[in-house]
């Protein structure tokens, strides 16, 4: 009989057995409706063919592929947070490992669904096993994806095992029989013996070590699907690490969103605190810097060489048909970086200055919007001519940027006081930005082929419905899973309490005064 800390029991165990409220059912019904709509659209695509999508020649791949890369990227967070932090024994990881691991598993499952949407003959999927050709990057990808899914499910399960046993032993009397059976089956006879703990720790360590190279391999191989071709814009050597960095980056962004949702909806004030946001925030900033570095390097080489087929691809991103998605991505990333970095840089003293107020930010935003509206909207001929003058126009846009920067400064102190809100905002920016980045990698190269007229790709309603349904499925998986299993790893948190308790009893000696430095007094008269 395993015992649970009474605090954890009221916060984590009891809500699992409480009857779900109307809001839960509403969410489930809504998500099921979206999924049902997506399923009907998929049936349509199956019946008529992939012609129902917006894809054509030469845009043979569309947002299914973009979603695939994006979702496996998002799933990277689990590997990083739970495995890397576990191995390095970082204490703050404890309350968020479970969320990160589920993000990995569900993200990967929904990602592999995208491949199923994308292929023309899903009925022949097993050909990959039967006739698999080892030289194909797509086969490496399939292998790596399968291995990653299996490993991450195993990792999640191993971490979950003591908690399942805990739930089995603490089932309330009125719990339905199937839940009792579920926990008994999944609990595998875990009794918390010393030998069992030893074995579990060993297994977790092994799997944590294994999952890191597997995760890195998946993102690298996915980039190789593109970079092993001879197509302009794809044949780049740094695409592998660029994908890995982007994956970790978007993973942390998604983790911010999911952990905040879990914290707010399940009232986990005791477990998820400001220090988690702070610690993850530093990781986020590092990834952000690396992302800018890679993006700059990747594009600089293309700008410098101006190769006949490569450059049009980049030009379409810089000022052509994809400028909106490219500069949108850059803007989102800059905003995310600003949100995480600038509040950390401002000294507390500056708070008294009037510009560092939310209302100033609001006013600046308004001014920026008015200025931008002036520049974009149709004006009387005379004003228009004056505005279109290069100097005026540049000045006008600089003014807009200045106002936006002022708004950013004004909101900074408010962001500093609300770490969760700012983290979620930054996370949302990065998640959206990384989706756009995947789009910018896949689509412009396809629309700028050699020897075929350039085209434009727009996803069809079928593709958009299936993407929405995929996101709904991801959300539903979280919702159902966290209704059955605790969102916080109970045993890890309890272990953390013991560690913290032990550490608090260690006496740290006070610092000794410095020894007088003979050089310091040299030349001075005493």
């Amino acid at each position: 009989m395993l015992k649970v800390n009474p605090r954890d029991k009221t916060r984590l165990v009891d809500p699992l057995f409480a009857a779900p409220g109307w809001r839960f059912w509403l969410a489930v019904v809504f998500l099921l409706a979206v999924i049902g709509w997506g399923a009907s659209m998929y049936l349509r695509q199956l019946t008529y063919g992939l012609g129902e999508t917006g894809m054509d020649r030469p845009v043979y791949w569309g947002i299914y592929m973009v979603n695939f890369i994006f979702l496996i990227g998002v799933s990277m967070a689990g590997t990083l947070i739970s495995a890397a932090l576990q191995l390095t024994n970082i204490e703050w990881r404890r309350p968020i490992t479970r969320i990160a691991e589920t993000l990995t598993v569900f993200g990967l499952l929904v990602a592999s669904l995208q491949l199923l949407f994308d292929i023309g003959r899903p009925d022949r999927l097993l050909n990959v096993v039967q006739y698999g050709r080892l030289q194909s990057p797509l086969l490496w990808d399939a292998n790596s994806l399968t291995l990653y899914i299996l490993t991450s499910i195993l990792a999640l399960y191993l971490q979950l095992l003591p908690d399942i046993a805990l739930l089995r032993d603490n089932c309330p009397a009125n719990a339905p029989w199937w839940r009792r059976a579920l926990y008994t089956r999944l609990g595998l006879g875990w009794k918390g013996y010393r030998s069992q703990w030893g074995r579990l720790q060993k297994a977790i360590t092994v799997i944590s070590i294994a999952i890191i190279p597997i995760g890195v391999s998946l993102h690298t191989i996915t980039s190789w699907v593109f970079s092993t071709t001879v197509q302009p814009g794809w044949k780049s050597t740094i695409l592998g690490p660029y994908f890995v960095i982007g994956a970790i980056f978007s993973g942390i962004g998604m983790l911010f969103i999911v952990m905040t949702l879990a914290w707010r909806l399940l009232k986990l004030d005791e477990y998820i605190q400001a220090r988690h946001y702070r610690a993850l925030g530093w990781l986020f900033i590092v990834m952000s810097a690396l992302w800018f570095y890679f993006t700059y390097t990747e594009n600089l080489t293309l700008v410098a060489e101006q190769e006949a087929y490569e450059f049009p691809v980049l030009a379409s991103k810089l000022w052509g048909s994809y400028s909106f998605s490219f500069w949108g991505m850059v803007a989102l990333m800059v905003v995310a970086f600003w949100i995480m970095v600038v509040p950390k840089l401002l000294p507390a003293l500056l708070r008294r200055v009037v510009v560092f107020q939310p209302r100033f930010a609001l006013a600046s935003t308004g001014a920026a919007l008015v200025a931008a509206f002036f520049l974009i909207s149709p004006q009387p001929a005379v004003t228009h001519a004056a505005l279109m003058d290069l100097n005026t126009n540049t000045f006008g846009w600089l003014m807009v940027i200045g106002f936006v920067a002022c708004a950013g400064l004004g909101i900074s102190f408010w962001l500093k006081q609300h770490p969760a809100v700012s983290s979620v905002a930054a996370g949302a920016c990065v998640v959206a930005g990384m989706w756009l980045e995947r789009w910018n990698i896949v689509i412009p190269t396809l629309t700028h082929p050699r020897l075929i007229p350039y085209t434009i790709y727009l996803p069809s309603p079928v593709e958009i419905s299936l993407s929405a349904a995929s996101l709904a499925l991801l959300a539903l998986m979280f919702l159902v899973f966290f209704k059955l299993f605790p969102v916080i790893s109970i045993w890890e948190v309890s272990e953390g309490r013991v560690v913290e308790d032990a550490q608090s009893r260690v006496e740290i000696p006070l610092p000794e005064p410095n020894e007088p430095n003979p050089l310091q007094s040299w030349g001075s008269r005493r």
Partner: protein, 242 residues
């Protein structure tokens, strides 16, 4: 063992698109609706396209037009980017250098279409359809074995297809030679486009035979290949105009 290759003399080509039509009927390539064609979903194994590719760029008036035409079958590269990426070996290069396509195995992942720098691989977005009595006059030839479907056999929806150098004609020529109990000669087989070309702009034959027309023309100072920088080593060579 011959190594098949093609030479297209642009000096002789009149851009009549006869090769394109011959290919369509020889290989049962379905025509798509005008809307689909506008969306870029038409299937033309042997495409005849203008250069510059954007017709709006040619502002000259007849007879001083500058538009040039290029006809584009599959290049049957010696180093094909498409077969390297196929996860199920549905596309492969046989020992005679023809890049072949097995419709019965293709899973429709479209990595080969994405990898081909020439854009000569096509995807069946919908099931093929023929208008009216056209469907009764399809080419009945097919190359078939368990798990193997090639040649002009009607392709199912959701698979990739491409020019095969009329592989069924080669097979027929071989069978004919066998039936007549003699050795097969490389000049017994040409693809439909070569046979049709009214200007005799296309040559086809064995590149490994130094005396063959294609091998001789390959040495011409006018010879060039498309996208040489992609490193694909095409076996379709063009002879420059003039």
């Amino acid at each position: 063992m011959p190594r098949w290759g093609m030479v297209i003399d642009l000096d002789k080509c009149v851009a009549c698109q006869g090769c394109s039509i011959a290919c369509r009927f020889e290989n049962n390539t379905p025509a798509v609706s005008p809307e689909e064609a506008l969306q870029g979903r038409s299937i033309r194994w042997n495409d005849v396209f203008p250069l510059p590719i954007d017709p709006a760029e040619d502002k000259d008036v007849y007879p001083n037009v500058t538009t040039r035409y290029l006809t584009r079958p599959c290049m049957h590269c010696e180093n094909p980017p498409c077969i390297k990426v196929c996860p199920v070996q549905a596309t492969y290069k046989d020992e005679e250098g023809i890049v072949r396509m097995n419709y019965a195995r293709c899973i429709g992942c479209r990595l080969c279409t994405v990898a081909c720098p020439y854009g000569v691989r096509y995807f069946n977005w919908y099931a093929p359809e023929w208008e009216g009595s056209l469907s009764e006059h399809l080419n009945p030839d097919r190359i078939e074995a368990p798990g193997d479907l090639e040649g002009p056999a009607v392709r199912p929806r959701g698979v990739v297809e491409k020019c095969t150098f009329c592989i069924h004609r080669l097979q027929k020529a071989r069978l004919q030679a066998e039936a007549e109990q003699r050795d097969f000669r490389p000049d017994e087989y040409v693809p439909a486009c070569v046979e049709t070309c009214p200007a005799k702009a296309r040559y086809f034959g064995d590149l490994d035979n130094p005396d063959s027309t294609v091998a001789q023309l390959n040495k011409s100072s006018r010879a060039f290949v498309e996208l040489e920088e992609a490193g694909t080593h095409p076996k379709v060579t063009y002879l420059r105009e003039g």
